[in-house]
């Protein structure tokens, strides 16, 4: 005979997501339906953005099997003994699984959206964890797995995510209560009833009602077919004529970016440079290698040629498309007046970047001039981009595009690019994979001001290592593509270059030991 047991529910949430409200609803729902309910939680510091668990047990009151009316409720979930897990974020579903809350008898209901943890966010490149494995394991382990982007659903209904989850719980049928009882509970709470009911409805509608686990939507980016206006069609024709199919998507994106950045002539220069790389790739058996080198260089060369400067920023900041986007981002109502001001901090360096090459060089290399002009660019400015004077200033700056070619920065960047391409060429002959990694080093150089300087310094540091490794006749160490790749990711590990220095040290020591 099966003895009666309480239904055990765990809510896995982040501080501030409303897990407490959801727990309160479930308790009231159970009580309204003639159940005894207990809930517990561990607020405290977890309330401030940490991961937290709310735990509920419910039991039918006056159950005929009951010897005494009140069961002894536990205050915390026991691994392997939880009936329903409600995770308000996908990684928290993962945490519930690792804690053993999810078994073959558990209904797991989770929101698929991500709230990135601080460790993921502070990475210098891409530190995000992929939740796909969690979805996979969840589907294997749980008796039922209901997955929905409840944050998006909540936003669509202008409701709290807890309301959407409450709806999904109702639809799942994991609790023996009617939908109307759920709705009554929300009404009875007397707080934000309308929006919470709307959220509940969306959650209810999105969740599947029967035993089938819902299939998580996987995004697949469809390849876009390129088309062009007359002025651009020449470029497009040249690209299709001269380059293999597999690199055309990247090249198209590159061309698009560079025409937008400067002009058709500049994009043509891009193709000229790429033609050399393509020829090189062919010599290195590129066809068999899927044109990896061409593809890599196509991507990074486009990004490098479209380096960030004041002209580009001013250009992007003044576009109509940008005005539409920020209105959407700040959720402005239709017709609402929105003023935007941009945080800009051009330093003397950025100003000299724009100057004619001779002048920029002169100022930057003469300490007194640099300091003298520098005082005017010590403070950050807030440019009122939606007001006339701010907009016109930025508009003027974006117009400098037509003199960009003669600017100091342009000269420098083109020289750096040529040097980089030359190294790729030199490397490719001996070590194709290493050449691809050298191409990928461009990723280090990004951003503005100090960020750009830090990235560039790391790039130069790695190039110096490459030179060292090529020192004939006795190179002090060998640089493989794997080593360079791990050095690159070390450069992304921290701002102060601690990890990179350690990796370089390791490389030298291991070479000595060998």
């Amino acid at each position: 005979m099966t003895k009666p047991r309480p239904i055990k529910i765990s809510i896995n949430a982040l501080g501030g997501q409303g897990g407490g409200v959801l727990a309160g609803w479930i308790v009231k729902l159970a009580e309204r339906s003639g159940y005894i309910a207990q809930s517990t939680s561990v607020p405290g510091v977890a309330q401030r953005t940490g991961a937290t668990v709310y735990y509920i047990e419910v039991f039918p009151q006056g159950s005929t099997l009951a010897q005494k009316s009140v069961p002894v409720f536990a205050l915390m979930p026991v691994p392997g003994d939880v009936d329903i897990v409600l995770a308000l974020e996908i990684m928290e579903a993962g945490r519930a699984i690792t804690r053993g809350f999810v078994t073959g008898e558990t209904t797991l209901i989770a929101s698929s959206h991500r709230v990135y943890a601080i460790a993921e966010k502070i990475h210098l490149g891409d530190g995000r964890q992929d939740a796909e494995d969690i979805i996979m394991v969840g589907q294997t382990v749980a008796s039922r797995f209901i997955l929905d982007d409840m944050e998006a659903a909540a936003a669509s209904a202008d409701a709290a995510i807890s309301a959407v989850m409450f709806g999904a719980l109702a639809r799942s049928g994991a609790l023996p209560f009617a939908k109307s009882a759920f709705e009554e509970t929300i009404r009875h709470s007397e707080r934000a009833v309308d929006s919470n009911l709307a959220g509940f409805e969306v959650g209810y509608a999105n969740a599947p009602s029967d035993g089938a686990a819902s299939t998580p939507p996987l995004s697949t980016a469809g390849a876009k077919k390129a088309s062009a206006s007359t002025a651009g069609s020449g470029l497009l024709q040249r690209m299709t004529r001269e380059f293999p199919n597999s690199v055309q998507f990247t090249l198209t994106e590159g061309l698009k970016k560079l025409v937008d950045y400067q002009d058709v002539r500049y994009a043509d220069l891009y193709l000229d440079r790429m033609a050399c790389i393509r020829a090189l790739d062919e010599k290195c058996d590129g066809l068999r290698r899927g044109w990896r080198l061409t593809c890599d260089v196509a991507k990074h060369l486009a990004l490098w040629m479209a380096y960030e400067d004041t002209i580009r920023v001013a250009d992007l900041k003044t576009r109509a498309s940008r005005f539409e986007r920020f209105r959407a981002d700040v959720r402005a109502e239709t017709g609402q007046i929105v003023h935007v001001s941009d945080y800009m901090h051009p330093r003397i360096e950025e100003i000299c970047d724009l100057a004619p090459a001779w002048l920029g060089k002169k100022i930057l290399s003469t300490p007194t001039l640099r300091k003298g002009f520098g005082v005017f660019f010590k403070k950050g400015r807030r440019i009122p981009s939606t007001k006339l004077h701010g907009f016109l200033l930025l508009s003027f700056l974006s117009g400098l595009k037509f003199v960009r070619r003669s600017s100091y920065r342009f000269k420098i960047e083109q020289a750096r690019i040529d040097d980089w391409l030359m190294r790729i060429e030199m490397t490719a002959r001996d070590d194709y994979a290493l050449a691809c990694e050298v191409a990928g080093l461009q990723r280090l150089i990004k951003g503005y001001g100090e960020t750009h300087e830090r990235g560039l310094a790391n790039y130069i540091r790695l190039l110096a290592l490459l030179d060292e490794a090529n020192k004939m006749p006795a190179p002090p160490f060998r640089l493989t593509s794997q080593t360079l790749a791990s050095l690159k990711s070390a450069a992304f590990a921290d701002e102060d270059g601690v990890m990179l220095a350690a990796e370089i040290q390791k490389l030298r020591l291991s070479a000595k030991a060998a």
């Binding site: 501080g15 517990t40 403070k379």
Partner: protein
């Protein structure tokens, strides 16, 4: 006003005999105090008993109806000393705090009141901050009960038992003239349940009666020779009296069955977890009906020798389930049985972990080991076992993906920019030693700031660096919150620094509340208060105690903050340097302002709402801005540029418009991607005219640009 309002729940405290009371454990404790005829209540907030203080603060109405005085004590020491009122008079009083940290602070007063002894019932309600969710050192309150000889109650974690134990606690205290501690674990404080209420009772003898008819008894003062007499009284009279009361009122419970020659002795607070573990082992039903004999210690100190002997006499072995270390109860049980020459084996930390929280899983494993060794027949027949969780290999792979989520500053928190400024200063002048305190600001120790070397206790930030008071090329920085400042930091930190001619730097974070414990008001809170005297500026106290170098800075002005810090670190002027970093706690501010703003918008008033954003096409995905901020609303999204791999920064809709991200971009010369957006509600005529002129001119230029670009459209 505290973070959570209990105004609605407090109404529930009025209910009378026979009615059903529903609520959190901590609310039930309040009800129990009122049912016990308490005269005064004091305490200091801190998880897990913050809500008790909040409930009491919100319950002023009902408290004054019953002529109960509620004191928001300056510290746990102050609260402990409050119990002195029960020494001479038949006044019942209760105080509460977070333990063991609060008990540490209160120890001086507690030892005194425990020595004097009490006439009126004195109850110390401690929230035992141990195990999951705890933020403090893992220790036991048990030691304090033993050293000062106060009785320690550890009730079963259901509302009825908790309330019953509060009421009995007062009686026990009076019967034995000894202060009593009631220990509630984290989850028991927050457990929601129900109980049958009794009527509230107004104290028969009031504080006013005492003040108007003072009684003095030299025997009760802790001074020779009374202090020596007290010690003898403790063992000769108070202890036996307590044992007698506990026995005759059955505070401890003999539960379960009588089967076999094994039994379990359990701390009352762990009883529910034990029953669940027994249930999973197939040895109990969910109502606690079990054949296993259980001796449930609702009083964990003192142990009742006769009860222990009776329980163990016919047993081969008993399992003692005692959470934390040292194993005080296990040792005491062994002593009792050894002295009585009873041969039952005491099994405790041999089968259960010596340290750490006793979860259901832990107790289940301990039970299995115990029964395997001493009653294998019991387990073999009945075990249904827990449903097996995920096989370990699957768990392991996911465990590598699931990120840690350390606590951090809230969205828009005014303390964040202080640490952004410190991080920027470190880039200029190198690393320095940082002594931290207790409070939200302690999150600076965690990523992304990673600032702070030690934290020695509430209000002890500057004392924690007091050894570094010597000539050096670099100064130290200490942190203190306004809560810690008023708790004791004014004297232990600032006063001491003045007196000892300290040459280092202190930052006092003045956000207007004891924010970390739930936003309670303090001396320097800006808001007016019906029953408390607020608006006492920190600066006045700091100057008053003798600090000459004092700067007040708005925390959100990162440039100014950094400059002030740099001045303090490099000035030639000797002596203590104090920076008061001011801005209101954002949680509290939002709670205050949002309803007002919504009302104004609703009433057609012109309102400007500010929030921030990032342009994804100028952001290159380095995330330096996040490393300087860690704001929850500053997050990531996919890079819209198909050529770029690194996700861009993104300000989500939780943004409250504090502006720290933009200020950081300026102060650190980061990038031009941040923008500040002002959304105008109910615009004026001037707004509308200007907007139409602007959009006409800007629109013209934008169309011209679009036209030029259209000539070169490229791609899809």
């Amino acid at each position: 006003m505290a973070e959570r309002s209990f105004a609605k729940e407090v109404e529930h405290l009025h209910i009378g005999s026979g009615e059903i009371f529903r609520g959190e454990g901590i609310l039930a404790v309040t009800k129990a105090l009122l049912q016990s005829g308490v005269s005064y209540v004091g305490g200091y907030q801190g998880a897990p008993i913050s809500h008790l203080m909040d409930v009491l603060a919100d319950a002023q109405g009902i408290l004054s109806e019953l002529s109960v005085h509620f004191e928001a004590s300056a510290s746990e020491a102050a609260a402990g000393a409050m119990l002195a009122a029960s020494v001479n008079y038949p006044l019942r009083g209760a105080v509460t705090w977070k333990s063991t940290v609060g008990t540490n602070v209160a120890s001086d007063a507690l030892a005194s009141v425990a020595s004097s002894g009490v006439r009126g019932g004195a109850l110390v309600i401690v929230g035992e901050d141990y195990g999951e969710g705890s933020s403090i050192m893992q220790e036991r309150t048990h030691a304090f009960a033993m050293k000062s000889q106060m009785w320690l109650l550890d009730p079963r974690p259901n509302l009825t038992s908790i309330v019953d134990m509060v009421e009995k606690g007062f009686q026990l205290s009076e019967a034995s003239n000894t202060p009593v501690m009631l220990e509630l674990r984290i989850r028991a404080c927050h457990v929601y349940g129900s109980l049958t209420a009794k009527d509230n009772v107004a104290p028969a003898f009031t504080l006013r009666d005492a003040m108007e008819n003072p009684v003095r008894d030299y025997d009760r003062v802790v001074l020779p020779p009374s202090n020596f007499v007290h010690e003898i009284e403790k063992v000769k009279h108070r202890w036996p009296a307590a044992v007698e009361y506990i026995k005759s009122h059955h505070l401890n419970e003999f539960l379960g069955g009588v089967a076999g020659d094994v039994g379990v002795i359990v701390q009352g607070g762990l009883y529910n977890t034990l029953i669940r573990a027994l249930e999973l082992a197939g040895l109990s039903d969910c109502f606690g009906e079990t054949r296993i004999p259980i001796y449930c210690l609702n009083v964990t100190y003192p142990l009742i020798e006769d009860e222990v002997k009776d329980f163990c006499l016919d047993k081969k072995a008993v399992l003692i389930i005692e959470e934390g270390q040292p194993d005080y109860i296990e040792q005491a049980l062994n002593t009792i049985l050894r002295n009585a020459d009873i041969q039952a084996k005491v099994v405790g930390k041999h089968v259960l972990p010596r340290a750490g929280e006793y979860t259901g899983q832990v107790i289940l494993e301990g039970l299995q080991k115990f029964f395997d060794a001493y009653a294998p027949s019991l387990v073999a027949v009945n075990s249904r076992g827990a449903r097996l969780p995920l096989p370990p290999d699957g768990q392991k792979t996911i465990a590598e993906i699931v990120p840690q989520r350390p606590a951090g500053f809230c969205t828009g928190c005014p303390e964040r920019p202080v640490f952004s400024a410190m991080k920027l200063l470190q880039k200029d002048i190198g690393k320095f030693h940082v002594s931290c305190d207790i409070g939200c600001h302690l999150f600076s120790i965690l990523p992304p700031f990673d600032i702070g070397n030690t934290t020695m206790g509430y209000g002890l930030g500057w004392s924690g660096a007091s050894a570094f008071n010597t000539a050096a090329l670099k100064r130290t920085i200490s942190i203190m919150g306004d809560g810690g400042f008023w708790h004791n930091g004014l004297t232990s930190g600032v006063g001491s620094a003045v007196f000892n001619r300290n040459d280092n730097v202190l930052i006092i974070i003045d956000n207007g509340y004891a924010a970390a414990t739930g936003g309670q008001d303090i001396l320097s809170s800006r808001a007016g208060h019906k029953t408390k005297h607020t608006n006492n500026p920190i600066a006045k106290a700091v100057r008053g105690i003798g600090v000459e170098w004092l700067k007040e800075v708005n925390t959100y002005d990162i440039g100014a903050m950094k400059k002030t810090l740099k001045d303090a670190m490099t000035t030639q002027k000797k002596g203590p340097k104090v920076i008061i970093a001011q801005s209101e706690c954002m949680l509290n501010r939002q709670r205050r302002e949002i309803p007002l703003r919504n009302k104004a918008i609703h009433n057609g008033k012109r309102v400007v709402r500010v929030r921030y954003g990032v342009d994804p096409d100028t952001c290159t995905g380095d995330h330096a801005c996040i490393r300087l901020s860690g704001c929850p609303s500053l997050t990531l999204k996919d890079n819209p540029d198909p050529l770029r791999e690194d996700p861009v920064a993104y300000v989500n809709n939780d943004c409250v418009g504090c502006g720290v991200c933009g200020e950081n971009a300026h102060a650190a010369v980061l990038c031009p991607s941040f923008y500040r957006a002002e959304l105008i509600y109910n615009p004026s005529v001037v707004d509308k005219v200007l907007a139409s002129v602007r959009s006409a001119v800007i629109g013209f230029f934008q169309k011209r640009g679009e036209y030029a670009r259209a000539k070169y459209t490229f791609g899809a």
